[in-house]
C-alpha cells in the first residue's frame, strides 16, 4: 500500500458509532445523503470540512458502540483515507479493515497533532510524519493477515477470488 497524505481532522476519546451516524438517519436509503449527517452531533459542519481533510486522528476507543458499518462507509464516501486512533473498538476496527480503509493504532501524546496539520502515513514502514510540526511517530505495523485484506481493497475482493 502506498503512502497516505492529507490534512487531519482531530477528534477526542470514545467517539461512538451513534456520533458518526446517528440512529435517526440509519434508515436513510441514499448513502450519499446519509454521509451529509456524519458526526453532525459533534460538529454540524463536518461533512463540508471533510472535503479538505482526508485523515482523521482520534483518541482512545474510537468507534465504540454498534456494529453499524455505515459508520465506516460514510467516511469512505467523504473521501477519508485513514483513521488514526490511540485504540479502536473491536467491531469498528474490523469494519475499517474489511472495507479497505486503513485503521492505524498509534498512542500519540497531546501536542503531537493539531487540527489541520499535514501528515504523511507510511503503512508499510509504520511511520506517521507530521509535516506541519516536523515530527515523526512510529506505530505498530499491521499484521500481514490484515495488510493483505487492505491491499486487496477490502475483504469482499478476497472472497470473490476465493469463490472463483
Amino acid at each position: 500500500m502506498g503512502d497516505i497524505e492529507g490534512q487531519i481532522y482531530i477528534l477526542g476519546d470514545d467517539i461512538n458509532t451513534d456520533d458518526i451516524v446517528p440512529s435517526y438517519i440509519l434508515t436513510e436509503r441514499d448513502p450519499n445523503e446519509m454521509a451529509k449527517h456524519t458526526l453532525e452531533v459533534i460538529d454540524p459542519n463536518f461533512s463540508q470540512k471533510s472535503t479538505m481533510r482526508s485523515i482523521i486522528v482520534g483518541g482512545s476507543n474510537f468507534g465504540t458502540g454498534s456494529s453499524r458499518e455505515e459508520a465506516v462507509n460514510v467516511f469512505k464516501i467523504l473521501g477519508i483515507k485513514a483513521i488514526v486512533a490511540k485504540s479502536f473498538s473491536r467491531i469498528y476496527f474490523r469494519n475499517l479493515i474489511n472495507n479497505g480503509l486503513a485503521g492505524i493504532e498509534c498512542d500519540w501524546e497531546e501536542g503531537t497533532f493539531s487540527d489541520g496539520d499535514k501528515v504523511q502515513i507510511s503503512i508499510d514502514k509504520g511511520i506517521i510524519f507530521n509535516k506541519t510540526k516536523d515530527v515523526k511517530l512510529k506505530f505498530k505495523k499491521l499484521p500481514q493477515f490484515l495488510k493483505e485484506i487492505l491491499d486487496s481493497g477490502g475483504i469482499l475482493n478476497q472472497v470473490k477470488n476465493k469463490l472463483k
Binding site: 459533534i42 458502540g65 454498534s66 479502536f88 469482499l156 470473490k160
Partner: protein, 419 residues
Amino acid sequence: MSFTIAEKVLRAHSSAEEISPGQFIEANIDLIMVHEQLGGRIHLEYEKLGIDYVWDPNKIFFILDHWVPAPTINAARMHQDCIKFAEKYKFVHNMGIDKGICHQVLPELGFSRPGMLIVGSDSHTTTYGAFNCLSTGIGATDVSVVFATGQLWFKVPESIKVNLHGRLNKGVMSKDFILTMIGEISTKGAIYKALEFHGTGSSWLSIDSRMTVANMVVEAGAKFGIFLSDEKLKSWLSQRTNQSYKFVKPDEKAEYEKELNYNLSNIVPVVAKPSNPGNIATIEEVQGEEIDQAFLGSCTNGRMEDLRIAAKILKGKKINPKTKLIITPASKEIYMNAIAEGLIEIFMNAGAVVTHSTCGACIGGHLGVLGPDERCISSTNRNFVGRMGDPTSEVFLASPATVAASALTGKISDPREVL
C-alpha cells in the same frame, strides 16, 4: 496445552491444531443472526459478490425488531428489502416482525446452545454468552463473508477471568453489577478480550440476569462474555431445545490475562450518567435528579425478572403525573406471560404506556423518542448523545428496579426504599 473457553470453542471451529492469543484463524460459524441491517448495508454488500446462493440458509436467524411495525416510510422500505432478500436466498428461520427483540427471541427459541460459535449483525450479540457459547457482533461486510462462505476470520482473544462471589442484596440487580464493573475497568477496559464469568456468585444469578451481564460486556469493549455451565442453564435449555449440546469448561491451567474479583453482596444500585456507559455514579450521588421519562425495556432488561420487580414496585401506586413511563417487553412470549401474570394490568393502572416488543425507544427509533432537553432514566445499555432522541436529551442507565422507583417520584430514586 490448557485452554480458556474462548480458545476451546475457537479451536473446535477451526482447522488450527494449536491456538493462542493473538493468532489469526478462520473459523466455521454455527449460526448467524441478522436483523434490519440486512436491508441497510448487508444486501448492498452481498450483491457485490455476484452469487445467487448463501452457504447455508438453515444457519441464518432472521428477525425484524428495531423498527417494527414500521414507523416511517423509510423503515417500511428497509423491511421490504430485508424480506425480498430473505425470500430470494430461501432463509429457513424467518421470524417476521411480531416475535420481539433479536437477542431475546433467539435464545428463547433454543438457537443459542453451549459450545456454539454465533455471530450477529448487532454489537449486543454477546448476550448469548449467558448460554455457555461464544457469540459476538460483526458489521455488514463480515455478514456478507459469512453468508458466502460460512467462515470468518478471528483474532484469538486473551481472556479475563471474572470471579463473582456472594449474592446481590434486595433491590440490587445484575445490571448494577455490570455497570459497576464497566465503571471500574472503563469502556475500553476489555477491548478485544473475552470475559469469562466464574464463581459461586455467577451460579446464583438467574439466566435472565446473566443475559444482562453478557449483553453489556461489549460496553467495556469485550469480544465475548461467557458464563460457565450449571444446573440452572441445563434446566433452562431443557425447556427450550431438544438439540444436543456439550457444556464447555475451561481447563484448570488455562491462562488468563488477569483476574477480577467482585463480591456481589457489596454492589449497590448505580446509574451511568450521560453520555457514556462508563460514567458511573452510585444512587446516593444522583438521587433527586429530575427526569421526564422512564423507560423499561430492550435486550438488556426487558425480561420477566425485570418486569416482575418493576410490578412489585408499582403495584397499587401511581407514577408521578409529569413523568412518562414506557414499558416494552423484550419479546412477545414475555409480553404474553406478563399479561397472564397480571403485570401489564399493574403497569397500566400505574400510568405506564405498554408497547409491543421492539427495540423502539432504546435506539430513539419510535415509541418513546426524547425531545430537546428531556431526561430519561432507562434500563437500556447505551446513553450516547442523541441515542434515544434529540442530541440535547440525556439518558441515565439503570436497573429496572431503579427505573420503576424513579417513575414513581419523577426523580432518580433508590429502589431499596420502595421494595
